[in-house]
């Protein structure tokens, strides 16, 4: 059974030394992907729907306190634990190395959610609505997920698809930096860099070779497509 091949292997590099934790990416993601509005109760029950969260860690004691920010989104693992456990192929691996989620196949076993070590999969516990006219903002490119299905970061696959169509029209491959997910597009400090890891000259590939690079929960062998660059604090000056 030969594997599906593709000129792309989408990946991201997150420079923790640049990240200021400002939260622009969080809103960008929510705006781009029709992520539901969650009231206080919903979030208090641990049922928030945001696909991208900025984890804030405290280290040390006053006055030697440091804060570390860690933006966590779907790591689009090459060896994704969430994929094989899905009984209905709702979670699958696409040729570009994206960790796809087909909402209309999802039956809601939530097995993928359990088996995702990064806890980036969010489940539609509630049926979500947008009061008029807030629904006018909903993007026509992405489905509005019904209750009972799992959803998560897609690296803004709709943008990738658009870019692919354009590139196909011009019979070329997508140029570096041509397509960006909402989060990295808006990140003021350019901490989030997105690109094609299959192309060794792309910015993301070059950054992914940085000596500061590490991956989240590397020891689990999930081989994420997201690389982090260490940062934050004296020890890295």
């Amino acid at each position: 059974m030969e594997k599906m091949t593709s000129p792309y292997r989408w990946g991201m590099v997150i420079d923790l030394d640049r990240c200021t934790g400002c939260g622009a990416c969080v809103v960008a993601c929510q705006a781009e992907n029709n992520v539901a509005l969650c009231d206080k109760k919903e979030i208090s029950e641990g049922r928030g729907m945001q696909w991208l969260r900025i984890e804030r860690f405290w280290a040390g004691e006053y006055p030697d306190v440091r804060v570390r920010f860690l933006p966590v989104l779907c790591q689009h693992c090459h060896d994704a634990p969430c994929e094989p456990v899905c009984p209905v192929y709702a979670s699958y691996h696409n040729p570009d190395g994206l960790n796809g989620q087909v909402y209309n196949r999802c039956v809601g076993t939530r097995y993928c959610g359990n088996n995702c070590p990064y806890a980036v999969r969010v489940f539609n516990f509630y049926p979500h609505t947008w009061p008029q006219p807030l629904d006018s903002q909903l993007s026509p490119d992405i489905t509005v997920r019904s209750r009972g299905v799992m959803e998560k970061c897609t690296f803004c696959v709709q943008r990738i698809r658009r870019a692919k169509e354009e590139a196909r029209g011009e019979e070329r491959v997508i140029r570096d930096g041509e397509v960006q997910p909402a989060c990295s597009q808006t990140c003021p400090s350019e901490a989030l860099v997105f690109g094609n890891l299959a192309d060794p000259r792309s910015r993301v590939s070059r950054l992914s070779r940085s000596p500061r690079r590490f991956q989240l929960l590397e020891h689990l062998g999930t081989h994420p497509s997201v690389y982090y660059l260490k940062g934050g604090g004296r020890e890295h000056v």
Partner: protein, 454 residues
């Protein structure tokens, strides 16, 4: 009709052992009504969930599995009672097994039926459950057999069919007897099921070979079923789940709860159909010994699991364990008491093993503890997964609790109906024993002579 001793004792045996088939009393109807009510309440709760959404449960991120899966594992565990008890004992030719065979096997079938419902109940979109069934479909895809859930489905299907056939096989001669002694629709029903059994020497010969073979076949299935249930957890990367000892550990746990459940059941049946003569302290004594052994095995497995975690002290694994120990201390202690300390301590003593009340308490305690054990395996691990920032907690909602209670009632209901409809004590097996133990004169005394082999 006849006045020969054998005949008389046979008739009398039939009368007593088939007493449960007599027309139901008011108490029986009340019981059935009560159980129906509870089940109905469960259905209401479930409907509420289906119409509103998963938020009516206590689940959240990261704890995406809760009471439903706990119930699932628990019931699959219970379902190991029959097959294990009856087939192991059948193969080991333990004669004392005979009166409890039927109850145990029936229990297996009903438990696995109940268990099979939980994965469907817990779906986010229950109405699309058929997406998981392998058949050529318009959606252009077959289910993913690389998913442990599909293994579950296959195994449970196999187990449901297998154990039902096993139950039926065991009942075949009894059905013939029931046929001969009843009239009306019952006669039709039994006649149909008895398949025209006459008990000719040839039939008996084949029958014995078949039942031995079935017993041998059903055991690996039972073992595989619970191993697969264990794999649901063991194949993940969830700290506290990803453990190689899980399959054997789960199987042992399953048998433990199974044996305990059979004991409880024996006591109930004994009372309900006044079969004191056939379910004697001897039987409880033996079951007690079995319980003791399994409980020892369980304790061993649990110890192995914990001590390796403790020794390796892998940060997140240990985090999960200490979180569980801190947050669920009372439950943890109750579990250890119920699954290990109490059974081992009590079952060591013949007098306690033969005391019905003690057996009842212990067996019930064991199953309460087993439910807690499943819960403590599933929930704490999910609460404190690898990403500390996204830790959470879980407490079941009224919906989940209702459905779990309804499951118990549903099981009881099935059993009560079954007991009214079919011989609940393995009539033929018991009579066979009686016949074999025909007393022969020897000098001035008479001794029971066990004739022939099985």
């Amino acid at each position: 009709m006849s006045d020969t001793p054998v005949a008389r004792s046979a008739t009398q045996l039939n009368d007593e052992l088939l007493s449960s088939l007599r027309p139901p009393s008011r108490r029986w109807y009340l019981l059935v009504l009560f159980l129906l009510a509870v089940v109905a309440w469960g259905l209401v709760a479930f409907t509420w969930q289906v119409t509103h959404g998963m938020y009516v449960t206590g689940k959240n991120r990261p704890v995406m599995w809760g009471f439903y899966i706990t119930g699932f594992v628990f019931w699959v565990g219970l379902s190991h009672s029959g097959t294990m008890v009856s087939s192991i004992l059948r193969l080991s030719r333990a004669n004392w097994r005979r009166p409890i065979l039927r109850a145990a096997e029936a229990m297996t079938v009903f438990c696995i039926l109940v268990a099979g419902l939980f994965p469907l109940i817990h779906l986010g979109r229950n109405w699309t459950f058929f997406y998981m069934i392998p058949y050529p479909n318009q959606r252009g895809l077959w289910p993913n057999f690389r998913s442990a859930l599909l293994w579950d489905m296959t195994a449970i299907t196999a187990y449901i069919i297998g154990s039902s056939l096993f139950l039926y096989l065991g009942m075949l001669p009894d059905l013939a007897v029931a046929r001969d002694r009843s009239g009306g629709w019952r006669r039709k029903l039994y006649g149909l099921l008895a398949m025209g059994w006459r008990g000719s020497a040839h039939e008996w010969a084949v029958y014995h070979r078949a039942s031995t073979l079935m017993a041998a076949l059903i055991i690996p299935v039972a073992v595989s079923v619970h191993s697969i249930v264990a794999w649901d957890f063991a194949v993940t990367v969830v700290p506290g789940w990803h453990s190689t000892i899980f399959p054997p550990y789960f199987v042992i746990g399953a048998i433990l709860s199974g044996v305990a459940a059979v004991i409880t059941l024996m006591i109930i049946i004994r009372r309900a159909f006044n079969l004191e003569a056939y379910l004697t302290p001897l039987h409880f004594d033996n079951m007690g010994k079995l319980l003791l052994v399994i409980s020892l095995l369980w304790s061993y497995a649990y110890f192995v699991e914990v001590q390796t975690t403790w020794y390796a002290h892998e940060p997140i694994e240990w985090e999960v364990f200490s979180f569980m120990a801190d947050t669920y201390t009372p439950q943890l202690l109750l579990m250890l008491a119920g699954n290990s300390v109490v059974p081992i301590a009590f079952m060591c003593f013949r007098r306690l093993r033969r005391s019905i009340s003690v057996m009842l308490t212990v067996s019930l305690l064991v199953n309460v503890a087993m439910f807690i054990e499943r819960f403590l395996i599933i929930v704490p691990s999910l609460s404190h997964k690898n990403m500390p920032f996204a830790w959470g907690s879980y407490s079941p909602s009224w919906v989940e609790i209702s459905v779990n209670i309804a499951a118990v009632a549903g099981f009881a209901l099935l059993f009560v109906l079954f007991a009214k409809l079919f011989p609940i004590v393995a009539l033929t097996d018991v009579r066979e024993l009686e016949v074999r133990e025909a007393e022969v004169p020897l000098g001035r005394t008479r001794l029971p002579s066990i004739a022939g082999k099985e």
